[in-house]
């Protein structure tokens, strides 16, 4: 049941990426191209997603605990530290080159373009290195509230 509901959640997320245009690198790059062929569509993706999430989270939290888990596991770190800013800056550069962030990279996989077949494995290597390096050196920023 947990795995089935995990699959359904991922399917809905992926359909959202495909329908919204977020999974099309051309659309993402045009959103970031303020000085050129600017396509503001992705602002509507963020707007729609945030509105539903803002309201839905508060409904979910009212229940006190998740349906399939012991407690809500939320990051409680509020510090704006160097790993956060350096990491976000590096991510933005990669996003601006390829037009893919992690979610759309997964939804692009079954279409088997040569670009994604290179992008996705490199993303996994980078993600592993980044997470490992962060925990090794600077600070672990995970915590639990609620």
């Amino acid at each position: 049941m947990r795995n089935f509901l995990g699959f359904v959640s991922g399917l809905i997320f992926g359909l959202g990426l495909v329908i919204s245009g977020m999974s099309n690198p051309a659309k993402v790059l045009n959103f970031l191209d303020l000085a050129g062929a600017w396509d503001p569509s992705l602002a509507f993706v963020m707007g729609g997603a945030m509105l539903v999430t803002y309201l839905g989270y508060r409904l979910a939290w009212q229940r006190g605990r998740p349906l399939l888990s012991a407690r809500f596991d939320l990051p409680c770190d509020r510090s704006v530290d160097r790993p956060l800013i350096v990491g976000a800056a590096l991510f933005g550069i990669g996003w601006g080159i390829g037009g893919f962030c992690p979610g759309p990279a997964w939804t692009a996989l079954p279409l088997l373009s040569s670009g994604i077949l290179v992008f996705l494995p490199m993303m996994l290597v980078g993600l592993w290195l980044g997470s490992y390096g962060k925990n090794l050196s600077i600070l672990a920023s995970k915590g639990i509230v609620r």
Partner: protein
Amino acid sequence: MGPTIVTEFTPWASLTGGALIGLSAVMVMALFGKIAGIAGITNGALGAVVPMGRAPSDRNWRIAFLAGLVAAPLVYALIGGTVQQTVSDNLVGMALAGFLVGLGTGIGSGCTSGHGVCGLARLSSRSLAAVLTFMASGIATVFVLRHVLGGF
């Protein structure tokens, strides 16, 4: 990368798709009590293949979630939708892009979904700082590639 392709402004499709992304994020919170950040979910699922110190206790639903993501365009095509996707075939550029996206989201603890959707919905100042940073560096990168280096 590649020639600039003009895309159509799609406010309603984008708003609808965004709402579905939000619905999924709410499901992950209500069911599993977790943030639906794809970088984080991928990282948790990766633990199944690569040991990373502390193994996440519940990785199976994350692997199932990723399978759902991968199935989504196929399901959408099956129900008659058209999946539009233009991916650069500059493989060196795409390899660099993938590595930077992975490394950056690993170090920065989140991506467009984790910090962007879930973090902002939680009114996290940390996520707001991350979003402003990756938006700015993404915009700067596209500006340099398209308007300084001239098309690419």
